[in-house]
Subunit: 286 residues, 2 copies
């Protein structure tokens, strides 16, 4: 019998996931969405093998169900459909916060596995019309399994990561994930919007280079999504912002002091930290 | 007689400029540098038609001299070589601060023109070995001419901008340039180093996405260059940082308050500002 892989939510990430998974290990990819325009677009563009608005029917008999909804949507879906997953089913998600999702997944009956998942990819756009199969290429694929998650399910998720082109699979706890993502992702979005709050924003057109475009690219964010992500991880994010404000204030003082040698020493220290990170930068000139 | 275009300083920007100008309107492109390894590399890779360490000889009889040195190097060069430019010569530069450079250029004798210039391009690397002819493609080309700059020299600079692939030419005053660049460029670099000062930096490897790479790309900066740029524009930069710290603090309060509706409204306001900017983002997935 054909295996069934259900992607719930055909937005930017869910749509890209469905496209990237086409033909994966013989699964039939079924996409679920509540929006008629999204379903129509997905059907016309072959985003999945089948698309439907009937979540209950799609989940029935599914081997894997991946929830690609906004955080609150995931929490609600788990609660509403908890008794419709077949025994042995693997439920997973793509959400940028993990503690709240893993806690909500406790409602699933015994025999239904849950592995938290966060493919670290995205663009500044939303919606299925911006989805593309190459979305996850070279991104990190983070997994937060339960202690009881089966080796078979973990192995399946690792093969899935390889299939969609991720550069590596990182396994961690929901707590560690959320503490680090407050810094590497959520804070970057707060920086971007804060920079755009400057009264000079519109006057600067014609004077921006790649550093400005790189820093503010994500400011035109999906408000509903990011309100939930920030709120569900508020203590960690507030802590990161306090550290950042302290570090910015220290640079403000170093610049204001007029002591060039001290400023140079401080810059050398920070620049060296970045070099040690040896991160492949996005090619901003491409 | 062959016209002579001298590029002083064959670093990342000067080297790229020489490469991009090859064959421009029949000029012979002469590159000047004090570093033997730089001269050797430039010679072996044909970065200019001719390279030399003798600045005085290069400047003699030059029709255009472009100073692609660090800010202090430009100030020193103008002072040292002020009497060696031929009458009618156009002197220009590529520096990221303009008031200090324009003031220093007052030392030039009558008949030697100066047009301040800032091609808004760069990468996170330094040195001639990272130079490439496409560096300036689609970037803004900012000019701060003197009131007395000749139409012929302005026209020459505009043709140069077109030749190296800039998307537009923006003409302004040194004061406006420096006030805006404190925001669009210098502050982006302070943000990048401040983010890297976070104690969590090294623990975050494996958890960074394109927003983190985009924001911190420029943190591994050229310490000498940026110390000078920050110092020569300190009042404007400090003002921008105060505004940013205020905007970040407002977001910190909005996240900490737990009032999701207020946070969403604030995010919607900022995101809408970014959308109104309609900036072509660098393709971080390329």
């Amino acid at each position: 019998m054909e295996k069934k892989f259900v992607v719930v939510g055909l937005g930017l990430i869910g749509g890209s996931m469905a496209l990237a998974l086409k033909g994966f290990e013989g699964f039939r990819i079924v996409g679920v969405d509540v929006s008629q325009p999204t379903l129509r677009f997905a059907r016309e563009h072959g985003v999945a093998d089948e698309v439907t608005e009937n979540a209950a029917e799609a989940v029935e008999g599914a081997d894997v169900v991946m929830l690609a909804l906004h955080p609150q949507g995931i929490l609600d879906f788990l609660e509403r459909h908890r008794d419709q997953f077949k025994p042995g089913c693997l439920v997973t998600d793509v959400c940028g916060v993990k503690s709240a999702v893993m806690a909500a997944a406790e409602c699933l009956p015994e025999g239904v596995d849950f592995i938290g998942c966060h493919p670290m990819a995205g663009t500044e756009f939303s919606g299925v019309e911006h989805a593309f199969a190459g979305m996850f290429r070279d991104s990190h694929f983070i997994l937060t399994p339960r202690e009881t998650s089966t080796p078979e399910h973990l192995s399946l998720m690792e093969r899935l990561a390889e299939r969609i082109g991720c550069q590596d699979v990182v396994r961690t706890t929901p707590e560690v994930h959320d503490a680090i993502l407050a810094y590497t992702s959520q804070m970057m979005h707060i920086i971007a919007v804060s920079v755009c709050d400057d009264p000079s924003l519109f006057a600067c057109k014609g004077y921006e280079g790649s550093s400005f475009r790189g820093c503010t690219r994500v400011a035109a964010l999906d408000v509903g999504l990011w309100t939930q992500l920030f709120s569900l991880n508020a203590p960690a994010l507030v802590g990161c912002l306090d550290t950042l404000i302290g570090n910015l204030s220290a640079y403000r003082e170093a610049v204001a002091s007029g002591d060039r040698a001290a400023l140079a020493a401080k810059l050398a220290w920070s620049a060296d930290r970045k070099r040690q990170m040896d991160l492949p930068g996005p090619d901003l000139l491409g």
